[in-house]
Symmetry: C2
Subunit: 354 residues, 2 copies
């Protein structure tokens, strides 16, 4: 009765890796290089019966009343504390969100800590307190943990890996392969806040900023959306690689086109200014408290209303639609009326953003 | 319906941490300092309804047909490859074993990789191949993963954090608090092999050794034991901190005494020689493919027979018994007839052993 889908975040096909290749920072950036690494190093080895669904969590049937959703995330953000959040809140929300994106109710988390010798105990306690608060907000329990210590210089303060287990609402199939031409694309709020807040904490902005990370648990927002529609096809949080990479993943998995209207995508003024100065495109900047949803056209209005009634969906908008052509491609119609292709993030843009 | 027990490996009571305290290597060694860290930094924050069972995995009731067991382990062993195993095999077996120690059938694993920039791809592929083989041997599926990359010098090649989910056989209550006076204590084979094999790989032995790590998945051994007896009270794998620390944990959790016969505890000749030279006590050396079981006296013989019929239990022996007095203490009767107290490992002995 056990059947599992292999799930390593955002896997797509990729050319073979060359010999003598080494890990470089771009392999961790969530874009095309990450996908290639996953494809070559992991997917081929850990091949499971129902292969490569490529969603943020694995859907498991195992003779339970309910199906399980399971996910894991490593967190290596630098610095540990940034405007609006810290590595602890990130570690809880990241995994809660990945489980919830399958339409599952997250219940339990595990937390593994790799600590660097010399880490102040007070820092660890602040991080743990933040995890506790985030878990309380999400309504999940942290039920198992482990701690290892490595020598000075062999880590960067601390790293946290969380795993999450949830139950999937029966008869619900939400996943990256479910987008259909005609569906509407909804976004829960402004993009780029998390990435810019972390850059600010690193002192890399070069000006005063009030941007705060959006890091938040989205499971209650998703509950509201599920109550509003039975035709939610895809939900995903555009983290590493940003909205552009997430939509490219979905376009590939569903073999559909995606057409966005540029002027509908909300970007805070300060985030846009920072991106312009630094030469970044906000479409590629990481978010940690946003989701993109692909919904049957006739339910889009109801879902949008439900989103706007929740704390983390107040600024939800429609940003585009799913098309039959060109399959696997994301296009943006600019304010000038032209259309450009938006590709997946290629290599490294912002390392250690989560 | 959801009820969870907090589970952070081997938690016991501990004095308060002092202000300005920093993380030191001993906090990761699995002994008394690790327990203090867990108690102060984690248990107080992540307090759950049924507090601090302190087993290797969490037992969860959540409205499923079966109860779930969930566990997690970080792996930072140095070097990555050692006689008899590698970090990949360790990461799979460690979590499989923690789930199985609750009398659960491990089904699914997640794997989170923190990779250091510059890691040869071939190294990663060898580790992943080893994980695949170990997962196949254990009969579990790796269903979710994540990969992060940190800059050169910010990790030591790679770290792997695995989490595991299993189903608990109904009506079975196995845990560290279940030992009863009169129970017999069984050990599945020789102790100290893993720790000495890793020291050998580091070139720290100073002589030629043929000792191999015992790293192995023990779930099939446990299946055989469960078939032989319904009165298995405790099972645990004596990893970091060794047999002495594991038995101290159990004595504390069950509030019983434990009396061992020194000459019955199997130690390979080379392991004993290495320990003598280096000033180590094999009772404190880590194992990664051994388990200690506490069984009702009348079933001990049947369980021992069942263990010896399996690959990883061929050398199983009875090493002692549970006593009413002195509660919380582990005593060893030496070959000379004297009795000594065996305390928990205090701080650091062998860092980065798993």
């Amino acid at each position: 009765m056990t059947e599992a889908v292999l799930n390593i975040e955002g896997a797509v096909c990729a050319p073979p890796l060359t010999h003598n290749e080494q890990i470089v920072m771009g392999h961790g950036a969530g874009g095309r290089m990450s996908h290639q690494l996953i494809q070559k190093a992991f997917l081929s080895a850990f091949e499971n019966p129902a292969l490569g669904a490529g969603d943020d969590a694995a859907r498991l049937e195992s003779g339970f009343h309910e199906s399980l959703a399971i996910s894991t995330d490593c967190h290596v953000v630098f610095p540990l504390f940034f405007p609006g959040g810290d590595i602890g809140r990130l570690a809880v929300c990241g995994t809660v969100n990945d489980v919830a994106m399958l339409g599952a109710t997250p219940l339990y988390l595990t937390a593994g800590f790799i600590l660097e010798e010399g880490l102040p105990m007070e820092t660890l306690q602040r991080v743990v307190a933040s995890m506790k608060a985030a878990a309380g907000e999400a309504g999940v329990q942290i039920v198992a943990g482990d701690t290892k210590v490595v020598q000075r210089g062999k880590a960067d303060g601390l790293y946290i890996t969380t795993a999450g287990v949830g139950v999937i609402v029966p008869n619900l199939t939400i996943g990256g392969a479910q987008a259909k031409p005609g569906d509407m694309i909804l976004l829960s709020g402004s993009i780029g806040d998390h990435g810019i807040a972390v850059l600010d904490a690193r002192g890399e902005l070069g000006f005063q900023s009030t941007v705060e990370s959006d890091v938040a648990p989205l499971n209650h927002l998703i509950d509201a959306m599920l109550n509003a529609s039975k035709r939610l096809h895809v939900m995903r949080d555009p983290t590493r690689g940003g909205l552009a990479t997430t939509l490219n993943e979905i376009a590939t998995q569903s073999n559909v086109g995606i057409l966005l209207k540029e002027e509908t995508i909300p970007v805070r003024r300060e985030v846009a200014a920072a991106c312009e100065m630094l030469g970044f495109d906000p479409l590629y900047i990481a978010n940690e408290g946003k989701l993109v949803a692909i919904v049957a056209r006739e339910d889009a209005e109801a879902v949008l209303r439900a989103m706007r009634a929740t704390r983390y969906g107040e600024e939800a908008v429609v940003i585009g639609e799913v098309t039959a052509e060109p399959p696997g491609r994301v296009l943006v119609r600019t304010t000038l009326g032209s259309t450009r292709i938006v590709d997946m993030l290629a290599g490294e843009m912002l390392p250690r953003i989560c």
